[in-house]
């Protein structure tokens, strides 16, 4: 049964971006494309051949596959309520973070491989933001490891008890931090704007300017998967263990939809940040994580 979470994430990834785009369309007064339009675009790309620039090396050709594989690998470790992920071991959340980092590393060096000045800028921005996000994620997961005394996703989420007001607060803060991390890692607003056509302001989009056809399809689909993956992580805070699947399943899907609608709403009603404000903003997540950590210390000491 450990395959449940994997299948659910694949399933949600099919319509997640569709919901985001539809939300934005409705807020801007348009009808918008169908929920499955992003998926259809990816299918179209999958049927195309890729074009490679003469200045690129084999790195550029293997990077999209590695990126895709790294996201899949990370998804293997995400549990679903009281079901562990396909892979589960002590300290798997560290492996989770670095599997994703490996994929990102390859996308970054493949962007540098093209020799384009735009892609170099994008790579530098992406590397900086990922670097800044990392402490937030580790302090967050470390705090919960300390709280529960376990070091794997499955056990941490399985033994989270929300007993006191502090721990409810912790859960809420953690969900917020994860939403923000997901937004940054997926290069969404307010840090990056996936819709922009301006190379100079892009972060993630500019790194994949040279990718085409199948490779581009892989990268785009990985983004959908990553969104659903973070959605699943957030959902895990709300899936109290011991509940039957007919409770867990609607909660899981519901959390994913709410998450997608939040992303769409944020992107409709605010402007994106100036590039040099982004690091400050991302550091804020680390400080929220530190708050969680202090909360955990208080819980361990006094409760």
């Amino acid at each position: 049964m450990s395959i449940v979470s994997f299948l659910l994430i694949i399933f949600t990834s099919l319509f997640f971006t569709g919901i985001v785009i539809r939300t934005k369309s409705i807020f801007s007064g348009r009808k918008g494309p169908g929920f499955f339009q992003p998926l259809k675009d990816i299918r179209r790309l999958f049927r195309k051949g890729a074009v490679y620039s003469k200045t690129t090396s084999f790195i550029f050709q293997i990077a999209p596959s590695i990126y895709f594989a790294s996201v899949l690998m990370a998804i293997f470790m995400v549990p679903f309520g009281n079901q562990p992920g396909i892979i589960s071991f002590q300290g798997d959340f560290i492996f989770f973070a670095y599997a994703l980092a490996l994929g990102k590393f390859f996308i970054i060096i493949s962007a540098l491989d093209t020799g384009s000045s735009f892609e170099g800028m994008g790579a530098s921005r992406e590397a900086l933001y990922s670097l800044l996000v990392e402490p937030a994620f580790f302090i967050l997961m470390g705090s919960f490891a300390l709280l529960t005394g376990h070091t794997s996703f499955y056990e941490i989420f399985g033994s989270l008890h929300f007993g006191s007001y502090i721990s409810y607060g912790e859960g809420t803060l953690a969900a917020i931090v994860l939403v923000f991390i997901a937004l940054i890692e997926n290069s969404r607003m307010p840090v990056d704007d996936p819709k922009t056509h301006l190379e100079l302001t892009m972060v993630h989009e500019v790194m994949i300017l040279d990718n085409s056809g199948f490779d581009l399809g892989l990268i785009l689909y990985s983004t959908n998967l990553k969104f659903a993956m973070y959605g699943a992580l957030i959902a895990n805070f709300f899936l109290t263990p011991g509940y039957e699947w007919y409770y867990s399943l609607p909660i899981f899907i519901g959390v994913q939809i709410v998450f997608a609608v939040i992303v769409g709403t944020v992107e409709s009603f605010m402007a994106r940040f100036r590039m040099n404000h982004n690091p400050q903003y991302i550091f804020m997540l680390t400080s929220i994580s530190l708050l969680i950590f202090i909360g955990v210390l208080i819980l361990k000491k006094f409760v």
Partner: protein
């Protein structure tokens, strides 16, 4: 005798009345005039007369509405370089670069005779964009980013070369000229008035009313024709409608560039009915075909008035709400304020015009200083902002939108009767010089014409406000982040084809 002649906007004078000076006096006169802040150069051009080149410099005085014309004849194959105006005042840089490029005049002390456009008829045919040496700074820490000539949003072509220190722009070089169509030459080649009017409509697609009004005013003055009030009414209305539509579209584009979706879609939607009104009026969304010299094919009827009033009522309400939302949104203000600043000193030095000048604290608006058409009745007071940043330019648009709406409503109260039997246009006066200024939505448009002894066009000179203002963009982005370039660029919204001609 004075060494210049003062004329008013749209006034025709015999060419022989323009004093011809030697280069020293010409130089001293014009570099002296520009020291006064009220004067700025609206056009400075040359044309061949036998083996000589006749330079004509037109300085506009914003206080008394005079335009001071002086001229000079020089040899193009002179060994000695001529002293450069630009060395004394940077605002001449564009005109001298153009003269250098077209006629091979050498200048002493010009800071950078950078090519304006790589036209087919330039003097030095070996200098091409393929071998153009872009400005470089040698340093390990710096990197270059080249953008274009194909625009990411597929608008118009232009090349931007940034030299950056990390994310910060140290220097931006803008190289245009990819759209050179030889419009000024076409004005001479095409002999029919209709052909020429159509050419004027095609100078810049977003300023059809601006350039066409300037052309027809010039042509009517050249033919000694006083336009009826209903013609002037249509031109003024078209200019203000165009300003309203493009400013709204620009606000939408500014929102798009900061990824503010609500503003982008609402302002975008508000722009469409305005543009479509041109379609209802004259059958073309850009207003082509509306303005003709000495006649009008589309009288502004009572039915049109009702439609426009309804349209404005609907527009005003939605626009007001959206602006309120936009200019109080912290995330939007954080992007716009203190971004892309052009100081007043810079603005004066480079001779900024139009919207960009008005946001840097210069009161320079043809509608107030060199009135034409019905602007005398409207008693226009230019909006002036002082910060010179992207926010000022957005805010100025808002103020001008409201002002234009007021003017349109005022004009609609009193629509002049159509003159059914108009006097036909005569042919242009021989050996004359005319200058016409109009305030397009972007700024001051200047057209000059010189006729020969048979009344044929001998030279036609067009100046779009973009020619002055592109340099302001290059200065504004310095020390800003490279990711703020698109928003700076959009806040000026300059024309590529208007520059390239």
């Amino acid at each position: 005798m004075s060494n210049y002649i003062a004329i008013k906007n749209n006034q025709t004078i015999p060419v022989q009345n323009i004093p011809v000076l030697d280069y020293e006096d010409f130089f001293a006169l014009n570099t002296g005039l520009i020291q006064h802040e009220e004067n700025h150069c609206v056009s400075y051009f040359g044309y061949r007369i036998q083996d000589k080149l006749k330079l004509t410099c037109c300085m506009a005085n914003d206080t008394d509405g005079n335009i001071l014309i002086s001229s000079c004849e020089i040899k193009t194959n002179a060994r000695e370089p001529y002293p450069s105006f630009t060395a004394h005042h940077l605002s001449f840089h564009f005109f001298e670069r153009e003269l250098h490029e077209n006629f091979g005049i050498n200048y002493a002390g010009h800071p950078w005779l950078k090519p304006v456009r790589f036209s087919f008829d330039r003097t030095n045919k070996d200098s091409r964009i393929e071998n153009y040496p872009f400005y470089q700074i040698k340093s390990e820490e710096l990197h270059e980013v080249g953008v274009g000539p194909i625009h990411a949003g597929v608008i118009e072509p232009g090349h931007f070369r940034f030299i950056c220190n990390g994310e910060q722009i140290l220097h931006l070089e803008i190289q245009l000229g990819y759209q050179h169509r030889g419009i000024e030459q076409l004005f001479l080649n095409k002999k029919k008035l209709l052909q020429r009017t159509t050419l004027a409509e095609s100078i810049a697609g977003d300023t059809v009313a601006g350039h066409t009004t300037t052309f027809v005013n010039l042509w009517e003055s050249l033919c000694n024709y006083q336009a009826d009030e209903d013609l002037q009414f249509a031109r003024t209305l078209a200019l203000e409608l165009e300003r309203l539509a493009i400013h709204t579209g620009d606000l939408s584009a500014i929102c798009t560039d900061i990824a503010y979706q609500l503003g982008s879609s609402v302002f975008g939607r508000l722009r469409t009915p305005l543009i479509n009104f041109f379609q209802i009026w004259c059958g073309n969304r850009l207003g082509k075909g509306l303005i003709r010299a000495g006649k009008s094919n589309f009288y502004f009827t009572e039915g049109l008035r009702k439609q426009l009033e309804q349209l404005l009522d609907a527009y005003e309400n939605d626009y007001g709400q959206m602006w309120e939302e936009f200019h109080t949104l912290p995330s939007a203000l954080a992007r716009l304020e203190k971004t892309g600043v052009v100081t007043r000193e810079q603005a004066i030095a480079i001779g900024l015009v139009g919207m960009a000048a008005k946001t840097s604290g210069i009161r320079r608006d043809v509608r107030a200083t060199h009135v034409h058409d019905l602007y005398g009745q409207l008693n226009h007071q230019p909006v002036v902002k002082h910060h010179g940043d992207v926010y000022s330019r957005a805010h100025l648009r808002n103020k001008e939108i409201r002002q234009s709406m007021g003017y349109i409503r005022k004009m609609l109260q009193n629509i002049p009767q159509e003159n059914k039997n108009r006097r036909p246009l005569s042919s242009p006066q021989p050996a004359s010089f005319t200058l016409s200024l109009a305030e397009g939505w972007r700024g001051e448009i200047c057209h000059c014409a010189v006729t020969d002894k048979d009344g044929e066009l001998m030279h036609y000179k067009i100046k779009d406000p973009s020619m002055h203002n592109w340099l302001a963009l290059a200065l504004a982005v310095r020390n800003n982040e490279i990711s703020d370039f698109p928003i700076c660029n959009k806040s000026f919204d300059l024309s590529y084809c208007g520059h390239d001609l």
